[in-house]
Amino acid sequence: MLCDVCKCNDATVFLTQILEGKMQKVNMCDACSKEKGVQDPTGFALADLLLGIGAAEEIEKGASTQKCPVCGYTQADFKKTGRLGCSTCYVTFGEGLNNLLKAMHKGTEHVGKLPQRAHRTVELNDKMRTLTESLQKAVAEENYETAASLRDQIKQLEHELASSS
């Protein structure tokens, strides 16, 4: 059985809590249990505490039949292996994954290296935002000549964006 936190190592610490007549189980590997400081698991909704709010429910309905449209991977497969099927799985299982990622990592958004291709898209998106704002301003000021030129620039940019992604 794999650790519910990192989904990588074998679970060696098994926690069971009965809360309002409902049983919750969390399985963890040695490293994760130490990291989470699990010693005396009393008085908490454990799964929520360790994996983020709502995680207990996620674990409960882990065997759901949701399927990735690209590779056919299911949530049950993920529960079993702790690995995903393809890059689209991150979208397919997005909601459930977010809690997991939050518990696993330092942040929830990537701040590191961008591939050149993505770099270009980010630049174009920034430019698009500036142009749209200027356009709205020009329209509000009834400066139609500028607005027309801005509209043409936006069209051009939309084209570039479509071809870059």
Binding site: C6, K7, C8, N9, D10, A31, K34, E35, V70, C71, Y73, D77, T81, G82, R83, L84, G85, C86, S87, T88, Y90, L97, L100, L101, M104, H105, K106, G107, T108, E109, H110, V111, G112, K113, L114, P115, Q116, R117, A118, T121, V122
Partner: protein, 374 residues
């Protein structure tokens, strides 16, 4: 380049150079990357895996860094050859279990090794001796940028590089250093260090990574998280922690010399005695004893020029290296016998430990520290 030349050339990181090389054996940085809209290797069917391999492998081989490289399909390597690569940390244990649809490409200097279709489509690793995480990252980052222009990697604006296991998503980077910490182990401070390190989001593991035992007082320390922090931030945070551990190790050694010099001399003497005269030795026992001899070299009980032969024994006495050098498959018993023989032969020319040198070090603590903190 043939497998036999991989074996005969030691690999640059084994030379024991680089900053803090007495304590930091090696620094490694690996990046995980995947192709867009393709199943990850663990889920892809054999045909898709092979197609992915055929897409990636030529791109890797044509890298300028991979001129005169060793490139092999996993199914064309024997179990023993794979194990040799694992013992040199050039492929992972997981990759060694792979067959059709996976490959490994590495440069002649064995500073760069790229696994195709391990857990991710690409696992690129750079390995250096001593504490050189920044330099290791620089190389692997350059290789990543070169490959990215020819292959379309799975990347998400919010989550960064997408990987098979959610623990690697974001930077896809794992930076790690292999530390030799006999001082902290002998003074029973190691658990304290391990606990402190795991509390700040770093992992401490045994010799061959995840789920392996610590042998020979060797510990791997690495970043645990990959999302929400920049690559260079992760590396400088890790380097700082490692520098603190190095300091603690030096402190522990100082205390041992000053307060427990009898125990220390006894340990070194016993290790020397057993290694010089034993006729059967498991690899675990060998590593643990060699570790003490290595400590002896660090502390001046053996001359400095004895360092390399000891470092080489760490690798040469590993099971697969042993069998490869003897050109045959051996039973565990035969291996233990051969291992003891190789060690005895190499220690023949080794002088007895000079314990008085140890005592001198304790009289002269400040210069000891300076010489070890180069």
């Amino acid at each position: 380049m043939k497998f036999s030349s991989v074996i005969s050339t030691g690999g640059e990181w084994l030379r024991g150079e680089g900053p803090h090389h007495q304590i930091v054996i090696s620094s490694r940085v690996r990046l995980a990357r995947n192709l867009r809209n393709r199943s990850f290797p663990g889920w892809a069917k054999k045909a898709e895996r092979t197609a992915i391999l055929e897409l990636i492998k030529p791109r890797v081989e044509e890298l300028p860094e991979m001129q005169d490289s060793f490139s092999e399909l996993l199914q064309d390597l024997s179990a023993l050859e794979k194990q040799v690569l694992v013992e040199r940390h050039l492929i992972s244990r997981e990759h060694a279990a792979k067959g059709v649809g996976s490959a490994v490409v590495m440069n002649r200097r064995q500073t760069l090794s790229i696994m195709v279709n391990e857990e991710d489509h690409l696992r690129m690793q750079s390995i250096r001796s001593g504490l050189q995480l920044k330099q290791a990252f620089k190389l692997v980052d350059k290789v990543d940028s070169a490959l990215e222009s020819k292959l379309e990697f799975a990347y998400d604006q919010r989550l960064g590089y997408l990987t098979a296991c959610p623990t690697n998503v974001g930077t896809g980077m794992r930076a790690s250093a292999m530390l030799h910490l006999p001082g902290l182990v002998l003074s029973e401070l190691i658990n304290q260090v391990i606990q402190a390190v795991s509390k700040i989001g770093l992992a401490v593991r045994g010799l061959y990574g995840e789920g392996t035992e610590a042998m020979g007082n060797l510990f791997q320390i690495s970043n645990q998280t990959t999302l929400g922090e920049k690559e260079d931030e992760i590396i400088s945070r890790l380097s700082k922690v490692i520098e603190t551990i190095i300091e603690k190790e030096h402190d522990a050694r100082q205390v041992l010399i000053q307060k427990k010099s009898n125990t220390l001399s006894d340990q070194i003497g016993r290790a020397y005695g057993v290694l010089t005269f034993a006729h059967a030795m498991t690899s675990k026992e060998a590593l643990n004893l060699l570790s003490i001899i290595k400590l002896g070299v660090d502390l001046g009980a053996f001359p400095e020029d004895r360092r390399l032969p000891i470092d080489e024994l760490f690798i040469d006495t590993q099971p697969a290296h042993l069998q490869k050098s003897s050109q045959q498959k051996l039973s565990a018993e035969e291996r233990d016998h051969l291992r003891a023989q190789i060690i005895r032969d190499r220690l023949k020319v080794f002088p007895k430990p000079d314990i008085s040198k140890l005592a001198n070090e304790s009289d002269n603590g400040s210069s000891f520290r300076a010489s070890n903190n180069e």
